[in-house]
């Protein structure tokens, strides 16, 4: 790894979150497609399996990845299509991290208690 600064970390997080989200998308479409087996098919059992807490923590990571990837994507768009984007790319990245936290915290407060509550 070369010792780049903010831009390198921004790229690396974007790449890791992107690959993870793409793989999650494939899995998500396949598991939702089990609904085609009908109400007596394996769908409900499969979802009950996914509703266990380790997967729900995984789901929080997926949401965190979505928020970061979305906001950093906006940063990339600003860098590509404005005259000032690249000049402020470091500040923009800290903005991305800040906004990810600001958007992520309420989601965390909403979802984490649900994980430990019985439905």
């Amino acid at each position: 790894m070369y010792r780049g600064r903010e831009g390198q970390w921004a790229f690396m997080f974007h790449r890791i979150s992107g690959v993870a989200l793409a793989l999650y998308l494939l899995l998500h479409v396949v598991d939702i497609s089990l609904v085609m087996y009908g109400p007596d098919g394996p769908f409900n059992a499969f979802l009950a399996f996914y509703h266990q807490w380790p997967f729900r923590i995984g789901l929080i990571l997926v949401i965190a990845g979505v928020v970061y990837h979305a906001l950093n994507g906006l940063r990339i768009i600003l860098m590509d299509f404005t005259s000032w984007g690249i000049r402020y790319q470091q500040a923009l990245w800290y903005g991305v991290l800040g906004l990810t936290t600001i958007i992520g915290l309420p989601i965390l407060f909403k979802i984490v208690p649900e994980i430990f509550r019985r439905v």
Partner: protein, 141 residues
Amino acid sequence: MAVRPKTLGEAQATYSTNTELAWWVFMRVSGLLLIFLVFGHIFFNNIQINVAEVDYAYVAKRFSRSWVKIYDSFLLGLAMLHGLNGLRYSVEDYFRRPGRRFWAKVVLFTVAGVVFVLGVMTLWAFTFEEMGDAVRTLNGG
């Protein structure tokens, strides 16, 4: 384009660049649209409700709604293309040997194609709740 490519090699050199440019633009445009679609998707299914409530009845009801079919079709199409192209970029970055790169792409495109078809089938496997009596009669109910 003033100068047309005259050989297959020239055409490949010219048009692959244009294709890559098109993909470059697509990643930005689809990314912008996906922000709204994905945030909405997470809001409806994970924020508005407890995701543990999701079961067969919930999903079947969702997929019988016309707007969900349309919304999720755009979501599926754009997300699959955006994700697939992102994975392709990654494969091209990390698989240096041409043979391995080729086979990685074959596996990637095959899996993505199968999953996309599964997704489309799932979305359209449910009858429209809001289509009215004409279609319901056709469907025998």
